[in-house]
């Protein structure tokens, strides 16, 4: 009976994994084919099983001859890294304050933070543009980065995490002469590494995948992040080459996959701690 249960579990896990892996395999494999072969193989097993005689790097060489995609990837890496580093610091401090300190209107601020979490970005994008434009920051890197450094969702997640942080550790730090800020940076932060990594990855992904705000905030081609640059491949006025799209998507997916591989052991425990599921 135990064996049957085990087999059923692995079978189910295998089917679920397939659901996620097949599109990925199709994307990677298609990036090495011509459009003609991609569409001939659709609906057959060869869509996800390679036939080596059909594979080539043509789509990659063509794509890279048209688009400076690596410059845009570098831009995205810089933007995402700045957003993660600065955002984690600011949002965790805010979350810490909401979790541990008593100050006037604290509950109202918390309600405000929770209320803001349900407002979709599309609803705030126009007012945001008007504010940033009024500040003269349109088409500048600070104008692009500043609005998304503060993230109410992340503040809330940190607040939830710090609520259960053992107060004894902080008291011990204070007895050893640490200030409130010192306690945060030397005790709370290092002890919450999993949480920081989890929120960091979520922030990195959000920044990496963002499309609408960079289009609104930036118009200088040299400043564009990769998702906007990629769109040129997707929405060519007339010719859309599926093989180019797949090659571009494969290139863009690589940094994310590397990130997951490096930090995967922290992600699960961080998710459990924060209540993200």
């Amino acid at each position: 009976m135990k064996i049957v249960k085990k087999i059923s579990f692995y079978l189910l896990a295998f089917i679920v994994a397939l659901q996620f892996l097949v599109p990925l395999a199709w994307m990677i494999l298609s990036s090495f084919k011509t459009d003609e072969v991609i569409y001939k193989d659709i609906g057959t097993i060869f869509a996800i099983i390679p036939r080596f005689e059909d594979l080539s790097f043509k789509s990659y060489t063509e794509l890279l001859s048209f688009y400076n995609i690596f410059d845009n990837i570098l831009n995205s890496l810089i933007y995402a890294s700045v957003t993660v580093i600065v955002g984690l610091t600011i949002n965790s401090l805010a979350g810490y304050a909401l979790a541990r300190f008593k100050f006037p209107f604290k509950d109202w601020i918390l309600i405000f933070v929770i209320a803001l979490m349900i407002v979709p970005i599309e609803a705030t994008i126009l007012p945001l543009f008007l504010v940033v434009n009024e500040m003269g920051l349109i088409n500048t890197v600070p104008g692009y980065l500043l609005p998304f450094i503060v993230n109410v969702m992340n503040i809330f997640l940190f607040r939830q995490h710090f609520l259960s942080f053992p107060g004894e550790l902080i008291e011990a730090g204070k007895m050893d002469g640490l200030s409130e800020v010192g306690c945060f940076f030397r005790i709370v932060m290092p002890s919450s590494l999993n949480m920081y990594i989890t929120v960091g990855i979520l922030t990195f992904l959000a920044s990496w995948n963002d499309f609408l705000w960079p289009v609104m905030a930036l118009s200088n081609a040299e400043l564009m992040p990769v998702q906007v640059a990629l769109n040129a491949v997707f929405s060519d006025t007339y010719n859309i080459f599926t093989s180019h799209i797949m090659a571009a998507l494969t290139i863009v997916t690589i940094p994310i996959v590397i990130l997951y591989i490096i930090f995967q052991k922290y992600i699960v425990s961080g998710s459990v701690q924060s209540g993200i599921k």
Partner: protein, 457 residues
Amino acid sequence: MKKIFLLIATSLLALTLSACGEEKANEEIVVWTQASADHPEGKMFAERVKSYNEANPDKPQVKIENITRAGAGSGYIDKLNAAITANDLPDIFTLDGPDIGAYVDAGVLGELDGYLTEGFKEGFTEAIIDQGTVDGKFYGMGYSDSGVAVMYNEDMINALPEDVKALVPAVDEDWTWDQFVELSRKIDEFAKTTNDPAFENYEVATSLLLTDITAGAYELGTYYFTPLLWGNDANIVGEDGVTVDGVLNSEKSVEALTKYAQLFEEPALASATESEKTFHTGKSALSVSGFWYVSELINNYPDLKFKSLRYPKMSENYDGLYTPSGSWAFVRNGQIEDEERVQQIAEVMEWLTNDEASEQYYQMNGSVPTRINSVDVIDTNTDNPYHNDAWTVLKYQVEETNKSRPVSPGYPYLSETFAKDVILKIAQNKATDPETIKQYLDDAAKKIELEFEKYKK
């Protein structure tokens, strides 16, 4: 840790302050386009602007900004609309031809009559002038036209019996929708009985790309099939751009769409759910194809032998304009009132759309010329017979039969409703009788009329 925190805070403040100090040069003429900088279209604009700046060092210099669009134009359009709200539009920007009416209605665009060199406007093809004209005033200068042809798979046609083959017209011959349907029917009958390898992957006689409508690209349906109405002296909206009832659902419209519906009479000759790239992969013998198919098929499907035919007429005797046309155009910011500045802007717009530009755009990006004097740049004597064939058809249509889509302040809604509630619905429900088609048109007209109330002043 304290130091890191201070460093981050100081850097942020410094970045913000440094950016605040940046000022916009007053003299510069700023152009927004929806083309990305890396794309051939973006490169052709950059090249054109560069040549203007070099030729006119004493005049205000032109700066181009590429705002990438997604899908039908979102991203770029979102930014444009935000800039309108912020009163921060650039001097010149691009718009898709059918959207010009809506932006004129919103008071965003400035007219160009009176600012252009004498005879410049008349240098555009008729369809492009019509596309850019609202209430008799000229607003949009098209830099690229478009076109639709019928393409056929040469291997499949060669496999047909001689009497069926004889139904295929020559590249320079007109043909009718009835002939097109008859050819489709004969092909389908043959396909179901033959073992010829050309028909190995056969799924359907004709590809109409109706799946694009399902996927949300409504304009494609209107662009492809409004000509059926035009060719039968009907239209989707009246001359005033806001009257739909009695126009869209007229007897002439019903008649034209009943002919379109013949393709869905069992056994169906076209499908609302055709496979991806049906024509490209030899799954259909015929295809109603946009001009972008030409380079796509030649470059990405080298094994496919395809030939091109003119867009079918509704009736043999029809001699008006009827083939699909139109594309993106340059327009100017109507919020600028300084006469000298407007004159400078108009001069730049002329440079971006003149005969030389039109030829340059064709050579760099395959853009269909919009200037009468530039149409001859289309080369129909290349080494590639498929290219020559297709461009012979498209060139003829640009010169002789292209018609602009209707100008209406509510065009996006009009287009979406016509494509989704009429063109696609007929195909999905295989509605072939005039009564049902009339019902679809009545329902669509009622829906659009309700939406258009706001435009009727």
